[in-house]
């Protein structure tokens, strides 16, 4: 006997598509409709079997694992709490509370993806909009340093290129698409205009676009490998469109000028609003990385890289960012929530993580989990736990519990740790 749960949100990426239908039999998911291949994996690859926590690789009772984790935290002078982006905001709030109570450093995966985007926003602001405005109004799309064709598989269909909206009833035919990247990708192939720029030249090209918007004339016929004539054409389109939209990704945040690239783009978008409406949306990756920024900001005032070591929040990217804390060997214990820095961090940071005691909360296997001193196999939000996540455009979306496994949530475990470190 199977039942179908409708209107389920998929927590894989920042699109948080909430039109998924999941067919379940007992505690097993048997079929998923409308999800992309990434989203299929979230549901179909989920192992719902009950698991017990591990301390030092040995199975223990939940109480014993909580006690062992609390002992690690009590003994630590400089604990780091990291991850958060694949958890729900309810758990993120508990993670920040734990950091506040034990004087920890707390950081999310933002610091290794769109952290520079946050710094750019703080420097110059950010003219943005929700994805529905893109669908309904945007007649000119520019994808810069991002590849949703591989990373956000339903973005084109639901929100941008092919989506049909109030002012764009014909979908693709009603839009002009640009792609800017250093190489050909699935995304650039879908564009009407592909501007292939030389690696490391984003800032140059962006500042040239600003110059052109202001009526200036660049020297030479090409900038960063792109013909000035093509940039002029783009500027003319941006100044005369109904509603222009930039989507930007790690091609801007994780190359040479980082936040300066992004600040230049955000400034360009702001300046374009003197002529025509224009907005920018960062292509946030993990399902609730946006929520991690939101929760940390409302509780501490800062979006990531927050230290509570002095008893109050301090913000210092490059210092309190997780990679830097670990690579400098400045953390002496770590709580890792729903992420895998052991697999993804630079070697010196990952090596230090193996040296210090770690408390890992995760719903599935990972490199980090395999080295955990204490491992809590928690429920997956959006599969066997309900919660809230924030879409890449900051719209909050409820995540459903589609199967019942009895596993505790990240929120449950973090709540127990807060109680345990108090006593």
């Amino acid at each position: 006997m199977s039942t179908v749960v409708e209107h389920v949100a998929c927590s894989f990426c920042g699109c948080l598509c909430d039109d998924i239908a999941v067919e379940v039999e007992g505690a097993h998911i048997v079929k998923v409709k409308r999800a992309c291949s990434n989203g299929q994996g979230i549901f179909m690859d989920y192992d719902p079997r009950p698991r017990r926590p591990l301390v030092g690789g040995e199975e223990v009772e939940w109480d014993a694992a909580v006690a062992a984790a609390a002992a690690i935290l009590r003994a630590a002078d400089s604990p780091l709490i990291y991850g958060l982006s694949s958890s729900a905001s309810e758990a993120q709030r508990k993670a920040v509370e734990l950091a506040d109570r034990i004087g920890a450093i707390v950081d999310s995966t933002s610091s290794v993806c769109h952290g520079p985007t946050g710094l750019a926003m703080q420097a110059v602001g950010e003219p943005t909009c929700t994805l529905g405005e893109v669908r309904d109004r945007a007649d000119l799309l520019v994808f810069w340093g991002c590849n949703p064709d591989q990373s956000h598989l339903r973005h084109f269909a639901r929100y941008s290129l092919n989506a049909k909206g109030a002012q764009t009833p014909k979908g693709r035919a009603d839009r002009t698409m640009y792609a800017v990247d250093v190489r050909e990708t699935g995304t650039t192939k879908k564009a009407d205009h592909f501007l292939q720029i030389d690696p490391g030249c984003d800032y140059e090209v962006l500042s040239t676009l600003r110059l052109l918007v202001q009526g200036g004339e660049p020297e030479g016929e090409t900038v960063g490998g792109v013909a000035v004539a093509d940039l002029k054409e783009l500027v003319e389109r941006l100044k005369s469109c109904r509603y222009g939209l930039f989507f930007m990704g790690m091609g801007l945040t994780m190359t040479a000028a980082r936040q300066l690239n992004v600040a230049e783009l955000f400034t360009l978008v702001a300046e374009l609003n003197e002529y025509a409406k224009c907005s920018v949306i960062p292509m946030r990756g993990h399902g609730n990385v946006t929520g991690a920024d939101q929760v940390l900001t409302w509780t501490s005032g800062y979006p990531f890289a927050v230290s509570y070591a002095r008893g109050y929040p301090q913000f210092s990217p490059g210092e309190f960012t997780a990679v830097d804390m670990l690579a400098r060997r400045a953390a002496d214990a770590a709580v890792i929530i729903a992420s895998d820095p052991g697999a993804h961090f630079p070697r010196p940071a990952a090596a230090h993580l193996e040296r210090i005691p770690t408390i890992v909360l995760d719903h599935g296997p990972s490199v980090t989990a395999s080295h955990a001193t204490v491992l809590f196999p928690t429920a997956a939000y959006g599969v066997d736990a309900a919660g809230t996540a924030y879409r890449m455009d900051n719209v909050p979306i409820p995540l459903s519990q589609v199967i019942e496994t009895g596993r505790p949530t990240d929120e449950d475990i973090l709540g127990r740790l807060i109680e345990a470190v108090r006593t």
């Binding site: 905001s89 506040d100 929700t130 929040p313 924030y390 409820p398």
Partner: protein, 544 residues
């Protein structure tokens, strides 16, 4: 749990107490008659010689939600130097013009406030607002839902179906766990999505063929039809422009005799002046307010220093960005709303800022009935709410006011009415504009007074000549009868409740709304509503 606050000079305007010595008895979080309390088992607070007031009621503050949080994120420099360290079970936080959630709760309660209304949330992101609310202790709250640029409502008006608009508004308030109808620059925010604005009440909203006047009239009618506890809460067209006083007066005339609240009126009180300095038109608007007893206003008083402007008025924020330069946030919200953020500094040496400062004070002093003008700084737009004690001193102390007036830019002093206004607010009148008046306008029957049945939200102050010092540091503050502040410092946390309304609606509209969602939203109908079970502390307030 029982409590007696005994022998204080009680300012409880709703119950006719203007400094008379009286005892306040509390049982289970409510004010009760003396006979209901067993004195031997009650905690007794000796309030002899002290001033006792109901907890403060904030009628308009941007405190929680998407826009506020973007403002927090935008300004790390604003938090530094304003940190609050963790003490005991209390949380740490950062302040500045847009404090973090826990600290916002602490800071309001440290002034004696216990109830706060969040002034503008777009329905699509109401879930976010409620999440932040759960992290803001010591305050009861309500959320105003922006509706002045809502596509469904504008379609219903265009199609001549006001009843559909009414039922939709009822559905929407329930779906967002909202408290009141908020109208921000009706039609202008939609036009901003086309890079434009509205300038007159009869301008057309692009694509809908309706006008700001029709939106205002329809939502005022809907408000009455649904019997909402609060009135339509209106931020009109042309805010900050030299046409604002004229169109605000016209808006008031359009809704004459109908209950309505005009928020942060100071920002909408300007006419054409010499050399691009707007002329303050406080006298004209105060006269309009005095003439229509159905109307309430709050001032949005400018406080010199740093502020963060944040409104749902997208085109206004873009204009401010063009004027002030610097950082600019904009956020267009599909089918509903928009908004923006621009950091700003108000300087007494800037003729425009100084004109705004004295215009706000002129409104306070020229509006006769304190029950219809409320203290706000439109936090954090005109200044942080933590400046309320300074504003109270300006209202109560004409010598202090004169001294500050003499220090503002000479061009702002020209033509000012302020030097002629000798009026000084009394403590009783302060209790009206910060407590009893807002509570009455909000329809919160258990707030803003200390009669039997009221929530036991009580602020106790030691009277001082310096009213700023007095109101900045209450001796005690009780929330639901629990001591949360002692000597101006928060000592305990209690969770606040969220007031919401759920007026009935014709259930048949739900299928029409559901069908509308298919093309109007990128979120499914089923995932849009905030359910009661999603929230920890809610309390419905009756309609009708």
């Amino acid at each position: 749990m029982m409590l007696g606050i005994l022998g204080g000079r009680v300012y409880d305007p709703r119950n006719g107490l203007d400094g008379q010595v009286a005892d306040i008895w509390v049982k289970d979080g409510r004010v009760v008659a003396a006979g209901e309390v067993d004195r031997d088992h009650a905690e007794i607070v000796d309030a002899a010689g002290l001033v006792v007031m109901p907890g403060g009621v904030e009628v308009h503050s941007h405190l929680v939600g998407a826009k506020v949080n973007a403002g927090r994120k935008l300004r790390p420099e604003d938090h530094r130097g304003h940190e609050r360290a963790r003490v005991g079970d209390l949380r740490s936080g950062t302040g500045g013009t847009v404090p973090s959630t826990h600290l916002s709760g602490y800071l309001y309660s440290e002034m004696g406030y216990t109830t706060v209304m969040e002034a503008a949330t777009a329905p699509l992101v109401a879930r976010h607002t409620h999440e932040e609310i759960e992290d803001m202790p010591n305050l009861d709250k309500g959320v105003f839902i922006t509706m002045g640029n809502n596509h469904f409502i504008m379609q219903a008006i265009r199609d001549g179906r006001p009843e559909l608009a009414r039922d939709y508004v009822a559905w929407l308030l329930k779906a967002t766990k909202g408290y009141a109808i908020k109208i921000v620059n009706p039609g202008g925010v939609e036009n901003w999505k086309w890079g434009k604005n509205v300038g007159e009440l009869d301008d057309e909203v692009i694509g809908y063929g309706v006008t700001p006047r029709q939106i205002l009239e329809t939502l005022a009618w809907v408000n009455e039809e649904l019997g909402l506890p609060h009135v339509p809460h209106i931020h009109g067209i042309n805010l900050g422009r030299s046409t604002s006083a004229r169109t605000t007066a016209e808006t008031m005339k359009t809704l004459k005799g109908q209950r309505a609240h005009y928020c942060h009126l100071q920002f909408l009180s300007y006419g054409e002046g010499p050399r691009h300095i707007h002329k303050g038109e406080a006298a004209m608007l105060a006269e309009a307010v005095n003439a229509d007893p159905a109307m309430t206003v709050d001032v949005g008083q400018i406080v010199f220093g740093r502020a963060t402007t944040m409104t749902s008025d997208g085109p206004l924020q873009h204009m401010l960005h063009q004027t002030a330069g610097g950082r600019w946030m904009n956020d267009d919200v599909e089918s509903e709303s928009g908004g923006g953020i621009v950091p700003i500094v108000y300087k007494r040496t800037n003729p425009i800022n100084a004109t705004m400062w004295r215009t706000g004070l002129e409104l306070f002093l020229l509006i006769d009935d304190p029950w219809r003008v409320f203290l706000t700084t439109d936090h954090p737009n005109a200044g942080c709410f933590t400046s309320y004690p300074q504003v109270i001193r300006l209202l109560m102390d004409s010598a202090f006011r004169r001294q500050m007036f003499d220090g503002i830019h000479v061009r702002a002093r020209r033509g000012a009415l302020l030097p002629e206004l000798e009026r000084e607010y009394t403590l009783g009148e302060i209790a009206v504009i910060t407590r009893a008046g807002p509570a009455r306008a909000l329809g919160l029957d258990k707030k803003g007074h200390l009669g039997v049945g009221a929530d036991a939200d009580v602020a106790v102050y030691a009277e001082q000549d310096d009213k700023e010092a007095m109101f900045a540091r209450p001796r005690y503050v009780f929330k639901d009868g629990v001591l949360v502040v002692r000597d101006g410092a928060v000592v305990a946390e209690v969770p606040g409740r969220t007031f919401y309304v759920a007026p009935p609606h014709d259930p048949s509209v739900e299928s029409e709304i559901r069908a509308y969602f298919e093309h109007a939203y990128t979120v499914s109908y089923e995932n849009y509503a905030v359910l009661s079970g999603d929230l920890a502390h809610t309390e419905p307030v009756a309609c009708g």
